[in-house]
């Protein structure tokens, strides 16, 4: 049992964050609880984006959403502007989510309508979003809503309200994946797209829903982040690399078909605590990046054997690789015409 649990890759995120937490504890006079509380108030944003990215990655080889960063930045501006214009926080957050949906709709049209590989489709949609962001940012004067900021900063008994809300969201995603037709279909598509197609799963609809969900979640994260920090054109920049990294360190298979929503929490806390540790020690951003990259590579190469089991049990199958069938959309499109 213990051995099997250890063999699960998502454990590493929690182990790593516990190690970093212990290091912070040893180095600072700050209470351990306070460190956790602070990390819990920063991690949820990354978890929200990560959940969307996880759904996309689970859809199978080649599926990735590289538009999350520009979507977060754009949604931040849109949400703050909408809140300022209408005076309603709910409208602002909904506008942020709507922005994410709109950008994701471009990606979906390109992926399904034009058979464009997802990385290129989301890249193009993201480029369009980042241009809109820059245009909006020129002479932007609206300020984030104070009420929402206070709500996001609210920490009764040291537990941030947002962390609880995002924990509920994570539980919902877990239920979505294991209990609903959509979730089951998504896993099936990720494991084998041709098999899912032959089984009569509406693959196109599942993919469309997945990218829209990722866009909506990125939009939500942007709306909240803009209220928590402030809207800026590079609000989302770090979230592209971080969202993919937390998903994969969290144990979700990069080749698709297996999603581990809980694992995202472990790796998100790891990333946030690591930032805290580096700030505590007073290292430069250079060292911060070196450490982050080095640790990602270390964890990756260490846990790399995690997929080896899959590879050895099914010898004749090709080793799962991230980009093998990235143009699956193109191939199937071609086949139907050929």
């Amino acid at each position: 049992m213990t051995l099997r649990t250890l063999a699960r890759p998502w454990i590493w995120g929690f182990v790593a964050s516990a190690l970093v937490w212990a290091t912070i504890l040893a180095l600072s006079s700050q209470g351990g609880g306070q460190t956790v509380s602070l990390a819990l108030s920063l991690a949820p944003y990354l978890v929200i984006v990560g959940l969307g990215q996880m759904l996309v990655i689970t859809a199978g080889p080649g599926n990735i959403d590289v538009s999350v960063a520009p979507v977060i930045s754009l949604a931040g501006f849109v949400a703050v502007a909408a809140t300022a214009a209408t005076g309603s926080v709910a409208v602002g957050v909904l506008a942020g989510i709507g922005t994410g949906l709109a950008v994701a709709a471009i990606s979906v049209l390109a992926i399904l309508g034009l058979s464009i590989p997802p990385i290129i489709a989301t890249l193009a949609a993201g480029l369009i979003a980042s241009s809109l962001t820059l245009s909006l940012a020129d002479g932007f004067t609206a300020v984030p809503d104070e009420g929402l900021r206070q709500l996001l900063n609210l920490r009764p008994a040291g537990v941030p309200v947002l962390a609880v809300a995002v924990a509920v969201l994570t539980a919902l995603v877990v239920a979505l994946l294991s209990r609903t037709t959509y979730g089951r279909s998504l896993l099936a598509v990720g494991q084998s797209r041709p098999a899912a197609e032959r089984a009569g799963i509406p693959v196109a609809r599942v993919l469309a829903a997945t990218y829209l969900a990722s866009g909506a979640l990125a939009g939500l994260a942007g709306a909240l982040l803009a209220a928590y920090i402030a809207p800026s054109p590079d609000l989302g920049t770090r979230y592209l690399l971080d969202s993919v990294a937390v998903v994969v360190i969290g144990g979700t298979l990069i080749s698709g078909g297996r999603a581990v929503p809980v694992g995202i929490w472990g790796s998100a806390l790891f990333f946030i605590l690591l930032d805290g540790l580096v700030n505590l020690v007073g290292w430069s951003t250079a060292a911060q990046n070196l450490l982050k990259g080095g640790l990602v590579l270390f964890v990756l190469f260490l846990a790399g054997g995690g997929t080896r089991r899959d590879a050895t049990t099914s010898r004749p199958r090709r080793r799962p690789r991230p980009a093998t069938a990235a143009t699956a959309a193109t191939t199937t499109g071609d086949n139907t015409h050929g």
């Binding site: 080649g62 590289v66 390109a110 034009l114 058979s115 464009i116 590989p117 990385i119 290129i120 890249l123 193009a124 949609a125 993201g126 480029l127 369009i128 980042s130 241009s131 809109l132 820059l134 245009s135 020129d138 690399l241 993919v244 990294a245 994969v248 990069i254 430069s284 951003t285 250079a286 060292a287 911060q288 990046n289 070196l290 450490l291 982050k292 990259g293 080095g294 990602v296 590579l297 990756l300 190469f301 790399g304 054997g305 997929t307 080896r308 590879a311 090709r318 080793r319 690789r321 991230p322 980009a323 093998t324 069938a325 143009t327 193109t330 191939t331 499109g333 071609d334 015409h337 050929g338």
Partner: protein, 319 residues
Amino acid sequence: MTNLVVAAVPPRAQLRRLAPAMVSTIAMFAMVAVCASLQSDVLTVTGLTLILSATVPLVIAAQAQMMLMSVGDIDLGIGNFVGLVTVITATKLVSSPGTGMLFLVGLVAAYALLGALIHLRRVPSLIATLGASFVWLGLGLFVLPTPGGSTPTWLATFGSWAPAGFPAPLLPILVASALVWLLASRGSVGVRVRAFGSNPVALQRAGLSPLAARVVAYGVAGALGVLAGLLLASQTGGGDVSSASSYTLITVAAVILGGGSFRGGNAVPWGVAIGGVTLGLVSVVLSLLDVPSNMQSAVQGAIVLAVLAGRVVVGKVLR
């Protein structure tokens, strides 16, 4: 009649293979034509030098990306890697050329090592190169926290070299593309690399080492990345680790525009050169059109979508 059809099949198949690059070529010439109609001086040697120079590092970096995509991998660290090379060029290569060279050779070796580790530990290249991109960024910030430095004289001389007969930027583009073409499309090394990309099991059964194929692909990509960084530094006259961060995704787009695919197994150096130039020309066209620079990325995105949509149409017509 049947004979005619049979005779027509091979060129048609070839046509279908070349179609993606053809659509991109049309897009590239359309861009140049737009430039020329707005500003007739563009078609002179000086004009072409000016509009092409910005695309040179992008094209070379795209060739590096293509090497990895030909084995079915994706490099999400190439942008920061090129940035790191400019930083080393602007600092170490000026103060002590020997150490600087050693650093650059070490970076190529690091790429090859990354490829070996990705292969041996069976990890996704997407994540490994993502992790490596943090390392390149960190190293670059470590060496040169703020943009600056200067370029070695020989590199600066090359950067400002302006021969009379032809636009200077064409030389590095053509030479690098030809070298990659010789290596990846014509040489036996390229056959192994592409074989690994299309069917690693077959490569292994043929008694060849998949590990070696992957390491070679990564090593060549690293060398091309260094070349791109050197050329970028020769143009900007200094080092900045984040000067090329947009390359990471734009190079992937350039490879796709040039007819490459994520499946691996094919190398399209000439197509990549065309795709890279097309994307690089966007900023030139926009500045000539007086469009605010804010819109640059939106236009790049729209061009990628338009060219790929054009390919879908051409693909259907050719079927």
